[in-house]
């Protein structure tokens, strides 16, 4: 009931947002209410999350398909995602209170923001295909409008276009997928679909379409193309939600279909998903390393993390498909854990990016630098976020990757040769992605927040409003907590996976709190808690020893830099130069990355230039290709518009004669 109230409140807020007009305080009020609503939903979700698995509370409204009212239900899975979603939305709303006054046209954001929140939450609680898709499209629609918030920029319009078309593609895939599960007579409610038995081909198609549909929303390679375009285009607090949360809602859809509605997916699909996930992870992070636009970089890093999660999910399916329920549960827990984590640190980073843009007006890494000194709060928060997202202990990112690795190492125990040989490869991909992610965020943080300012704007950066600082600080705190007490989280998650895998399971089975021992204590274990305490202890001891034996004197001086005396900040490493070694090693083949030096002749005093050319194979090959085909056919078809009446009559005549012939033939049979 509380949840229903909060949701309807969100709808009302949209109207209020329209009415907000020019006064900024009204906009602030809307965001404040959004935050309260999100917190309510968060509470509602959390309250149900703890409860024992089973069919949760349901509501039936007399809307939707006439012969089948709209069903809503909150079970454990929905509850978990509701927590994930509304944690981020609460943060983003709070952030918006301060941020909305810095937007070019707040009136194009405030009304749609609550709708976006509503859409995402509605997807989670929908209990029939129609409502699910309505909410799903509603989510796309509202976010599309948010992407168009800064509509005067042609790039944004292009991004919005690609986004909406891809969203429609995804919806059609899901739509047909549901249609297949519902059957010709249209039994669209989820319980009916669970009951339905799918034959081989139908089962195959369902999984395929679910992957295409949810995958295109989540940003699986090669369906990711819209994501790095659309996410940066939106205002930062919206980008945070699109990247940090909306992709998770897509994954929710995937889990809902593959683990719940379809139920018994063959293990081979798991293997396929793992490969897709691995490719997505590596490609995503490679893209990210090449980006100079901070928000694009973050968007691509989202692609990478989605890939990581999908590896976990695929593993779970492979285990479940071969009857290894406990391991399936483990892999699923790992995947869900990573979902939770990513939603937090990606939101954190996008909000920090928003703060950077607010403070400097720049998104280009090449124009930033030294912000850690001028914006200490965001400096610290972003650093924590960077460590977490690079999967380094003792923060949360590492825990989930550790769990995924642990379950991955169990993969070869399956009887299928494909798994025995495939899993190590996927493992290598995952490891590669993790290491590259670290490189990517050293680059991002080091260039944006450290070093000397590369532009006047960066040099004059100022603190951002309090609400924008507190939210990031809060999220950073969460990163630490989720890393320090992993067992508490995994126990909560095991409630969720029990109904999906049909096995009671706890990650900390035989060592108990605070030890994560996935399979058995001798199988390799991890305790963030102990590690944090010991590590902190050792650092303190080091500090004491050093200060005990040595001096504590510090002298400020110019940088030594091997004796080069220079004061031009441009001599620092830029994003591109930092990426160069990685580009040469990894991107030469995949992205056909080429460098060409333009060296002026002696006496010519124009500066030398180093040009880098990178080709996105997927965009050029797939999307541009489709565009070309459509254009070509459209040109052909368009000629029909310019014929004479006589020719149109000819077409008519032809149709008639053709049909008569058809009838003649069919009659003769």
């Amino acid at each position: 009931m509380l949840i229903a109230a909060a949701l309807s409140a969100l709808l009302a807020l949209a109207v209020l947002g329209v009415a907000a007009g020019a006064e900024m305080w009204r906009h602030r009020l809307v965001y404040l209410c959004c935050m309260i609503a999100s917190l309510t939903l968060l509470a509602g979700g959390a309250k149900h999350l703890g409860q024992t698995p089973g069919t949760g509370p349901a509501i039936i409204l007399p809307i939707g398909l006439p012969w089948m009212a709209a069903h809503f239900r909150l079970d454990n899975l929905s509850a978990l995602f509701m927590v994930v979603v509304n944690l981020a939305t609460a943060a983003a709303s709070a952030y918006g209170i301060g941020y909305c006054s810095h937007l070019p046209e707040p009136r194009r954001v405030t009304p749609f923001f609550p709708l976006f929140l509503f859409g995402m939450n509605a997807v989670l609680i929908a209990d029939d295909a129609f409502m699910f898709l309505v909410a799903w499209e509603f989510m796309s629609l509202s976010s599309w409008l948010l992407v168009l918030a800064d509509h005067k920029n042609a790039e944004n319009r292009h991004a919005a276009f690609v986004y909406l078309v891809m969203a429609c593609f995804g919806t059609f895939c899901l739509l047909t997928c549901f249609g297949l599960m519902a059957g010709g007579e249209g039994a669209y409610s989820f319980p009916a679909m669970r009951a339905a038995k799918l034959d081989g081909v139908a089962g195959f198609l369902v999984v395929l379409l679910a992957l295409l549909g949810a995958g295109s929303k989540a940003g699986l390679v090669p369906l990711h193309a819209w994501l790095p375009l659309a996410h940066p285009a939106a205002p930062s607090h919206v980008s945070a939600l699109m990247s940090g949360v909306m992709t998770k809602v897509a994954l929710y859809g995937l889990i809902r279909i593959l683990f719940d509605l379809h139920g018994h997916v063959p293990w081979a699909w798991g293997a396929v998903m793992m490969v897709i996930g691995g490719i997505t992870a590596v490609m995503g992070v490679l893209y990210a390393i090449l980006q100079d636009d901070l928000k694009k970089l973050l968007a691509y890093s989202t692609v990478e993390n989605i890939g990581v999660v999908v590896i976990g999910l695929g593993l779970a399916i492979a285990f479940k498909g071969s009857g290894e329920k406990t391991l399936a549960a483990l892999a699923l827990v790992a995947g869900l854990y990573h979902i939770v984590n990513h939603s937090i640190f990606k939101t954190l980073w996008f909000l920090s990016a928003g703060a950077v843009i607010t403070a400097t007006g720049e998104r280009d890494l090449g124009k930033l630098g030294g912000l850690a000194k001028r914006m200490p709060w965001n400096g610290v928060a972003a650093l924590i976020g960077a460590i977490a997202i690079s999967a380094l202990p003792p923060l949360n990112g590492f825990v989930s990757e550790w769990l995924i690795f642990q379950s991955l190492f169990k993969g070869p125990s399956l009887p299928h040769w494909a798994m025995k040989f495939g899993v190590p490869v996927v493992g290598a991909m995952l490891a590669l992605a993790a290491a590259l992610a670290a490189a990517c965020f050293v680059r991002a943080y080091g260039i944006a927040f450290l070093g000397r300012p590369r532009s006047k704007a960066a040099a004059e950066a100022h603190q951002v409003p309090a609400s924008m600082r507190w939210t990031v600080a809060l999220l950073a705190g969460l990163c630490v907590v989720l890393g320090a007490i992993p067992v508490t989280i995994t126990d909560a998650l095991s409630h969720v996976v029990t109904p999906l895998t049909g096995v009671q399971f706890a990650v900390s089975a035989d060592l108990g709190w605070p030890w994560l021992s996935p399979v058995s204590s001798t199988r390799g274990s991890y305790s963030g808690t102990v590690l944090v305490m010991t590590g902190a202890g050792l650092c303190v001891i080091t500090l004491l020893l050093v200060h005990g034996f040595g001096t504590t004197r510090v002298r400020r001086a110019d940088a030594w830099d091997c004796g080069h005396k220079e004061s031009i900040p441009q001599s620092q490493y830029t994003g591109q130069s930092f990426a160069q070694p990685l580009r040469r090693v990894f991107c030469a083949s995949i992205f056909a990355a080429r460098e060409s030096v333009d060296m002026p002749d002696p006496g010519d005093n124009r500066p030398a230039e180093l040009k880098v050319r990178v080709i996105d194979p997927i965009w050029v090959g797939l999307y541009a290709g489709i565009g070309r085909v459509v254009d070509f056919i459209a040109d052909l078809v368009n000629r029909i518009q310019y014929l004479t009446v006589r020719r149109y009559l000819l077409m008519m005549f032809g149709t008639l004669v053709l049909m008569l012939l058809v009838v003649a033939v069919r009659q003769s049979q």
């Binding site: 518009q641 004479t644 009446v645 006589r646 008569l660 009838v663 009659q667």
Partner: protein
């Protein structure tokens, strides 16, 4: 006289209408086309009258009258007048050579017979035969519309098509008056509209060549 003879006569007249349709395709000169059309209308009137006689359906005489007066007399004369007025040059521009057109016509007739004969096994022979004939006439009229470039010939083609329709209608036993009304109605309106159109077209394009008429063709980029 026996039913057999009445059938034969009906078919004879129907066949005449069809033949007229063929010769419409065959004509190379505009006035000849008009005359042939007048002849076809005449034959149609005869068919209608004959049907009225053997079906004992007096209202069909009305149809016959309409066909006779409007189609056989007024329309051809009006078209003659138009051609003179607008100084359209007198021979027919074909989009497809006469020979091919005739062959296509034959093919269409075969098709319609092929379609109709198996159909009305239990319907009266009368209906069946004239249905085949009527359908052929309709198709021939359409064929004429698409193989002739000139507006007048297209109008004639359209009229021929309608002749086919009426032939079908009259030979459908006991089909209510509503059909004749509608036909007369449509012919009438068609005429007036064509009149208005030619008037406007003359105003604006001073030609009747469709090719000129469609220079714009909508939505040129």
């Amino acid at each position: 006289m026996g039913a057999q003879t009445s059938y034969d006569i009906a078919h004879l007249i129907g066949a005449t209408v069809l033949m007229a349709g063929f010769s419409l395709l065959y004509q190379r000169r505009l006035f000849a086309v008009l005359n042939t059309f007048a002849f076809q209308a005449l034959a149609l009137a005869a068919a209608a009258a004959w049907q009225a006689h053997i079906q004992h359906a007096p209202h069909l005489y009305v149809t016959a009258g309409i066909a006779l007066i409007f189609k056989a007399i007024i329309v051809p004369i009006a078209l003659h007048w138009l051609v003179e007025q607008l100084g359209i040059h007198k021979n027919v521009e074909t989009a497809m050579s006469i020979g091919w057109t005739m062959m296509a016509g034959v093919a269409l007739v075969t098709l319609s017979i092929l379609l109709v004969l198996p159909v009305t096994a239990n319907a009266t022979a009368l209906t069946r035969e004239s249905l085949a004939l009527a359908m052929s006439v309709v198709l021939l009229g359409l064929l004429m519309m698409i193989t002739r470039r000139n507006a007048v010939t297209q109008v004639v083609g359209f009229m021929a098509l309608e002749n086919g329709l009426i032939l079908a209608a009259v030979s459908a036993k006991g089909m209510p008056l509503v059909v004749e009304i509608s036909v007369a109605f449509s012919v009438l309106v068609a005429m007036t509209l064509f009149g208005i159109f030619f008037f406007r077209i003359r105003e604006r394009f001073d030609t009747l060549e469709l090719a000129d008429l469609e220079t714009h063709r909508g939505d040129r980029q």
